[in-house]
């Protein structure tokens, strides 16, 4: 039993190819259904974002699992396998776990530490769960990855700090005003950058967005594009400045449209209510000296870009801590995989006990009335359950392969169990149901004798 991963990402494939291998647009459910019909993979999860398409699977044999996965991706998207091959990476077993943990942590993202990927990993898992293609192994693997994502987020600064100019502006506004709900935003100029920043502000739930532009028609068009914003003529700018909390200037004017004296005049009746001015125009729209006024916070595009650079540098310095968390969790996952080595023995042991119980109950109670028989059935089942509880727990808690092997061996010999498959922890031996033996009918409580016979 092996974990296998086949995929392409922004690291290996150009955007043209990534666009073509997009499971989301072609229907993730139908992809999973097609996969489920294939014999080579026992479990599967497809993670498909704009930067990666990855197929996580569980297979009996690595090579056939890989081939089947690559073939599936190529066929499903109508691609030539040969042209796909150079861009595909494949990993196996614990390397799959490490890769998924790094992905969930945001370590493998284009912008390191970006927050959306963890949600995308969760979605991928739940869609596969709904399609009934997730089994115990991938289920556990993905839950481990959610924990890694959460730990990295709370224990490191990997995801902290805005890494785009628009988000940096929003983050600053929040540091000045706290909640942005109920705030009033004024956008001066009807350009693209102003619109983008206003959209981000809008997403934070600001109360009102007003666009002023020298050409009223432009302002109206931009306001419409933002949705829920209003447009106002240029002459009303001073009135609007008096009530606004956040001003975004993005005109194409050759000289500043807001001088220090102008802003001072606007600030006086505001009684020191803070004003956050974001000047994203080039050349600048606001005289830099206006930033000296108490309670005026003036940031231009260079200032915002500088904070973005600082944030990126800070994220980079957190990578080592995040990687350490990933390694720790990979170790824990390895331990879990090993403990699964005991599962075939546990199942065989339980089946053996239950078979003995049933045959004895049948033999001894065939002449009794039905109610009594049912009662005896219940009691004996309970006795067997209780007797097996501790050994089962003990076996499952074993973490190293040699001990698991020794215990399994001893139990097999002592109770005459059918030989369970030798545990191969690193490859994650899967739950296996040993074939029930045909001689169930004449079993007696003579385990030792029976085992000698074999």
């Amino acid at each position: 039993m092996h974990l296998v991963l086949v995929g392409i990402s922004h690291r290996t494939a150009p955007v043209e190819l990534r666009e073509r291998i997009d499971f989301q647009s072609r229907g993730l459910e139908s992809a999973l259904r097609t996969l489920a019909a294939q014999a080579a993979l026992r479990e599967a999860v497809i993670l498909s974002t704009c930067n990666r398409a990855e197929l996580y699977g569980v297979c009996d044999e690595l090579e056939s699992g890989r081939t089947a996965s690559v073939n599936f991706i190529a066929e499903f998207h109508g691609l030539d396998r040969q042209s796909l091959q150079p861009h595909v990476y494949h990993l196996a077993d614990l390397d799959v776990a490490r890769h998924l943990f790094r992905v969930a942590a945001g370590l493998d993202s284009l912008v390191v530490g970006e927050p959306q990927i963890l949600g995308q990993v969760k979605d991928a898992h739940s869609v596969a769960g709904a399609a009934h293609v997730v089994g115990p192994l991938l289920n556990r693997l993905f839950h481990f990855s959610f924990a890694v994502g959460k730990r990295v987020r709370t224990e490191t600064g990997l995801g902290s700090g805005a890494v785009s100019v628009s988000f940096a502006a929003v983050a600053l506004a929040k540091k000045i005003f706290g909640d942005l709900k109920g705030r009033i935003v004024l956008v001066v100029g009807a350009g693209e950058m102003g619109k983008l920043t206003a959209l981000h502000m809008k997403a934070q739930g600001v109360h009102q967005v007003t666009i002023v532009s020298r050409t009223m028609a432009h302002a109206a068009r931009t306001a419409e594009a933002i949705g829920g914003a209003s447009a106002a003529p240029w002459e009303e700018m001073d009135t609007l400045l008096g009530v606004a909390d956040i001003v975004i200037t993005a005109t194409g004017a050759a000289s500043p449209i807001l001088t220090k004296a102008h802003v001072e005049a606007v600030m006086r009746p505001r009684r020191n209510r803070p004003l956050f001015v974001i000047d994203i125009a080039m050349p600048r729209d606001v005289e830099p000296a206006a930033g000296e006024i108490e309670q005026v916070f003036l940031y231009n595009i260079d200032d915002l870009q500088a904070t973005v650079r600082e944030n990126l540098a800070r994220r980079a310095s957190e990578v080592a801590r995040a990687e350490a968390i990933v390694s720790e969790e990979v170790e824990r996952f390895r331990t879990w995989l090993r403990s699964r080595g005991a599962i075939p023995t546990v199942i065989a042991l339980r089946q053996r006990f239950d078979a003995v119980r049933r045959s004895e109950v049948e033999r001894l109670t065939s002449s009794l009335p039905v109610e009594v028989r049912e009662r005896v059935e219940d009691i004996t089942r309970l006795v067997v359950e209780k007797l097996l509880l501790t050994p089962t727990e003990q076996l499952k808690s074993l973490s190293d392969a040699d001990t698991v092997g020794a215990y399994s061996e001893a139990l097999t010999r002592l109770f005459g169990l059918s030989q369970p498959q030798a545990p191969t922890p690193e490859s994650g031996s899967e739950e296996q149901t040993p074939q029930p033996r045909s001689d169930r009918g004449d079993r007696r409580v003579e385990p030792f004798i029976r085992s000698q016979k074999r």
Binding site: T154, E155, G157, S160, G161, L172, K174, K175, I176, F177, G178, R270, R271, N272, R273, P274, G291, E294, Q295, F297, Y299, D303, A306, T307, E310
Partner: protein, 271 residues
């Protein structure tokens, strides 16, 4: 007796600083736990002293300081629980630890004279202590406001930017603390004045009760400063940095009145 809360506060201070620097959730929880333990121990100490004397132990400077620290910690814990913000602990606790070491190392003797008993005396001292605790919080919030303000103004978003709540939140917390403190300061001074007119004139301390006594004089100045701050915030739109500086000034006066004047200068309040 006051050593146990002192030790717990000091341990909490270390934890808060650690949490402030590292921002690990576990260290934050440890810090709060230590502080709550300290507050409980402190409550126990004050409760025991109350049982022993038969009234709240407020009648000597050391005991009053201990009660002040206790109120400050409770006020801070309330702020922390309501805002879910631990950053301020790093700034409050140094003050609490410094002040708490006074009752811990110089306990003072409980004065049982008749002048220092009765409900009016209790109301007078406890409202003033509560007012001072509020002002201490306001001062610390003001300092953090200025630190954050300077970072944002200087466009160098660093240490405090990542750790403090927004300017708006700090400003409104500051104003609320000032408003609450001002109400209790007014009540405390007013009750003190009524109390002084009613107390028996035989005690030399009561005879010394006048506006010219340093303790009373400075308390009135204090009231003037905070009244102005509260007025300016509402009528003149003074907020932000000006409020923050006034809070720091006001609390500097409170501290001056509370420790050096209580111990060395006053003749009316020398307990």
């Amino acid at each position: 007796m006051n050593f146990i809360p002192l030790a717990l506060y000091a341990a909490a201070l270390v934890a808060y600083i650690w949490h402030f620097a590292q921002r690990q959730p576990a260290s934050g929880r440890a810090a709060t736990t230590l502080l709550v333990a300290g507050a409980l121990a402190h409550t126990f100490v004050i409760g025991m002293q109350t049982m022993e004397v038969g009234q709240l132990p407020l009648s000597n400077a050391a005991a009053a300081i201990s009660a002040f620290v206790w109120l400050l910690i409770l006020a801070y814990l309330y702020t922390e629980m309501t805002t879910d913000e631990r950053a301020m602990g790093t700034f409050i606790l140094p003050l609490a630890v410094a002040l708490q070491s006074i009752p811990a190392f110089r306990p003072g003797v409980e004065d049982r004279s008749a002048v220092l008993q009765g409900p009016l005396f209790g109301v007078h001292v406890s409202s003033l202590l509560f007012a001072y605790a509020s002002f201490a919080l306001a001062c610390v919030i003001g300092i953090t406001y200025v630190l954050l303000f300077k970072e944002i103004k200087a466009k160098h978003l660093g240490f405090f930017y990542a750790r403090l709540p927004s300017l708006q939140v700090l400003d409104s917390m500051n104003q609320r603390a000032i408003a609450i403190g001002w109400v209790f300061l007014t009540i405390g001074l007013f009750v003190g004045w009524i109390y002084a007119t009613q107390a028996s004139a035989s005690d030399p301390r009561v005879q010394a009760m006048s506006l010219l006594d340093p303790k009373i004089f400075v308390a009135v100045i204090c009231w003037a400063v905070y009244s102005f701050e509260a007025f300016a915030a509402r009528r003149l739109g003074w907020g932000g940095r000006r409020s923050a500086y006034l809070s720091a000034l006001g609390f500097a006066i409170v501290l001056l009145n509370f420790v050096p004047i209580s111990y060395f200068l006053t003749t009316s309040h020398n307990f």
